[in-house]
Amino acid sequence: MTQPPASLTAVPVRHYGRWITAALAVAATVWLVVTLAASPALEPATVGHYLTQDFILAGVRTTLILTAVAMVLGATGGIVLAVMRLSDNPVLKALAAAFVWLFRGTPLLVQIVFFGFLGALLPRITVRVPLTGTILFDKPTSLVITGTVAAVLALSLNEMAYAAEIVRGGILAVDKGQTEAAHALGMTSAQTLRRIVLPQAMRVIVPPMGNEVITMLKSTALVSVIAGRDLMTAVQGVYAQNYKVIPLLAVAAIWYLALVSVLSIVQILLERRFGRGHHVHTGGAPR
């Protein structure tokens, strides 16, 4: 490599094109925001009024609980399904594949409405001891599968199908030598999965699962079609009466944005945690 002589000043390349496109994009954005904000329909005072109303906060809480429960059930079920698909048992393999096919192949909205109206298909839920007539449990479906239960069922079963694929990909991404080393040490398959393979698969699983949580948080809005008491249901309840659709949608949007932002930070922290041992810290050298 030849060094430029010291007496000359190096002139960096000027990216005029870059500056022009950036200026245009900023101008367009400012124009859009100003125009929309100036609309009398937005009613900032109304937005501010509803933002922290009790029933809106209750909706936010339900949305968070729905997301958390559906994600925990979905991820746990997803791990089970992934292990089934990777097992040597052809029946388990086929069952897991069929489950994924069914729940990935139909829209979430259809699944939510389906569970919401399960009573039409199955009027009573009855559990009998086989061969004897003893009835252990017998109730109308509509009392067991309430709106909330239907929402949780639909969201978590749907999530299981997606999580299964993510977990399966994560497990397959772990080098086969890891399993062999663990087996050679006398660890059982279950121990190997839990202690060696899954922790490493996490590195591959966490980023897409983080996206799943964010998608889930927003998908909970769909349960408003069966009155799932979530944030979106709460907002709809109000604008159905006072017709202040835009301000109330803004309330919902602000809350969803805030929650998603918090989740994104959590995701970054988790990715760091599970990346342990994979980055050699060399004092800021580019990766």
Partner: protein, 253 residues
């Protein structure tokens, strides 16, 4: 006394591809056996059969008197359950060409994992043992280091320590130095030498002729899935009887 490894006409096929075609081999307790042979001759496959990472297709393979993969009772053979297979493997250490350390665990944690999970050793005892083993392989100061921050030679020494932590009665090494830069090979071989000196039974697949000549009690030359020649290093390496052995040695020496 029973031999540590006793193989009689052991074969192994992958589909129609017969990789081992009748291996006869005996390794006595306390013996160091070096396996040599060209690529694809089945050395790794045989080693993996010994601790049941592969299942033998036919023949008899005994480790410490017990048939690999089977339990004998009342004159019948019962195939082992996965749990029993795992239990047998506890007593056999294996060291891989590519180390296969657990990247999410520190050096010490790599060593502690199996004693704690498999043998039920307490965390305190496992840690004490791990530190002692790290000291023994010359890595006392790297206990908290993650594998990615260690050199290949250091990783392989941690891998040896990890296998030793299970107090095995047999150690299998599959080309332990082949993935290492030449200047790092010596440290690993030194550790293996000291193990041999302590009387550990070892089967070592290697291309390190110096190590084989100096440390091995028996050198076994394999080709095409059979044992072509076996004997003391002074004989097999210096005055091979078989033409195939001579050809191989001429290439590697």
């Amino acid at each position: 006394m029973t031999a540590m490894i006793h193989a009689e006409q052991v074969t192994k096929s992958f589909g129609h591809h017969e990789v081992l075609r009748g291996i006869d081999l005996t390794v006595e307790a306390g013996e160091v056996c070096c396996l040599l042979g060209p690529s694809g001759s089945g050395k790794s496959t045989f080693l993996r059969c010994v601790n049941h990472l592969e299942t033998v297709s036919s023949g008899r393979l005994r480790v410490d008197g017990q048939l690999v993969g089977y339990r004998e009772s009342h004159g019948r053979l019962h195939e082992l359950r996965p749990r029993e297979i795992a239990a047998r493997r506890r007593d056999i250490g294996m060291v891989f060409q590519r180390f296969n350390l657990f990247p999410h665990l520190s050096a010490a944690a790599n060593i502690m994992e199996a004693p704690m999970r498999v043998r039920g050793v307490s965390k305190t005892d496992a840690r004490q043992q791990a530190l002692a083993l790290l000291d023994r392989v010359g890595l006392a100061d790297r206990a908290e280091a993650y594998p990615a921050t260690l050199s290949g030679g250091q990783q392989q020494r941690v891998a040896i320590a990890r296998a030793l932590a299970m107090r095995p009665k047999l150690m299998l090494f599959d080309e332990p130095t082949s993935a290492l830069d030449p200047e790092l090979v010596g440290d690993v071989l030194d550790v293996m030498r000291s193990l041999a000196a302590e009387g550990m039974t070892m089967v070592v697949v290697t291309h390190e002729m110096g190590f084989a000549r100096e440390v091995a009690d028996t050198v076994v030359f394999m080709d095409g899935g059979v044992v072509v020649e076996a004997g003391q290093p002074g004989q097999v390496l210096v005055a091979p009887r078989e033409e195939r052995t001579r050809g191989f040695l001429a290439k590697v020496l």
